[in-house]
Symmetry: C2
Subunit: 145 residues, 2 copies
DNA sequence: CTTATTGCAAACGTTTTGCACGTTT
DNA sequence: AAACGTGCAAAACGTTTGCAATAAG
């Protein structure tokens, strides 16, 4: 796993290369995702950061803007819950898919080589240039059955 | 493929069994999905039906309510586009997944036995009771590359 | 005649935007 | 100093809901 310092450097370079600025708020959000290996809504990230950092002012709009920025840069990734919004996580790990429990909301990550390979094959078959793919298995987790 | 008459009968039975009523609006929406083998947003369905049937009054709320009803009954199915809403199609076909073009918005359907089997295996491995699963391959279609 | 369904408009929750002010470069 | 980023509040977006009027059983 990449160290936080390396990640920070990567982020700073990204900003510099795009004439964007390095701000306290952007750093806070990056750090938060790095330190918390779960999935969070923008709202959750906003509330937690606001509470933990009373000295630094932060608005929900900035959280949204920064998450979009991080996702575009490939540093964060999100899963969508339809009308109920999105949840974000650090997106530097190896690609993976999700099992989502409809009762407790728990998210289990998995990686499956067979599925990955098969997706490549399918894209090729349709002459489709794949840029991303997602798989969600929805149901009841062990606890909730 | 099921005939429209059969489908209509099925729908009427469904309604009767649940003490629900058969209305012009519900029939219009069912018929629309049957006759149009593509994916539509509730808004699109609403606009088209409104224009094509000036004699029958129809509201967007009814479209949403009916689509939910049809989806719950397994007659329609939807794909989610995150914040951008959902698109519906008749859901009587064999289960399938989607290739989605980010440029032209085109949706290609496919079915892959290997992926289906692998999903079952994964659910089993995590002691997960799967109720649904979706796979989206996002990228550029042949035309848009 | 009872009950479900409708359209409308208002409410909802999430996300985006315009703008004046602050910060980074 | 110039340019970008910020928080705020308002707007936008897709969707849902309360309600009185209407239609189906």
């Amino acid at each position: 796993m990449i160290s936080y310092d390396k990640l920070l450097e990567k982020f700073k370079n990204l900003l510099k290369n795009n004439t964007l600025k390095f701000t306290k708020q952007r750093e806070l959000i990056l750090k938060f995702l790095y330190e918390n290996d779960e999935h969070f809504t923008p709202e959750e990230i906003y509330m937690i950061l606001k509470k933990k950092n009373p000295d630094i002012n932060i608005g929900i709009a900035t959280v949204y803007r920064t998450l979009t920025l991080l996702e575009d840069a490939g540093i964060a990734s999100s899963i969508s819950f339809g009308t109920q919004g999105k949840k974000y996580e650090l997106g530097l790990k190896k690609h993976h898919d999700h099992l989502i429990c409809t009762t407790c909301g728990d998210i289990i990550e998995f990686f499956d080589e067979t599925i990955e390979m098969q997706q490549e094959k399918i894209a090729k078959k349709f002459n489709f240039k794949m840029t991303d793919h997602t798989m969600k298995i929805v149901g009841l987790c062990e606890k909730c059955q």
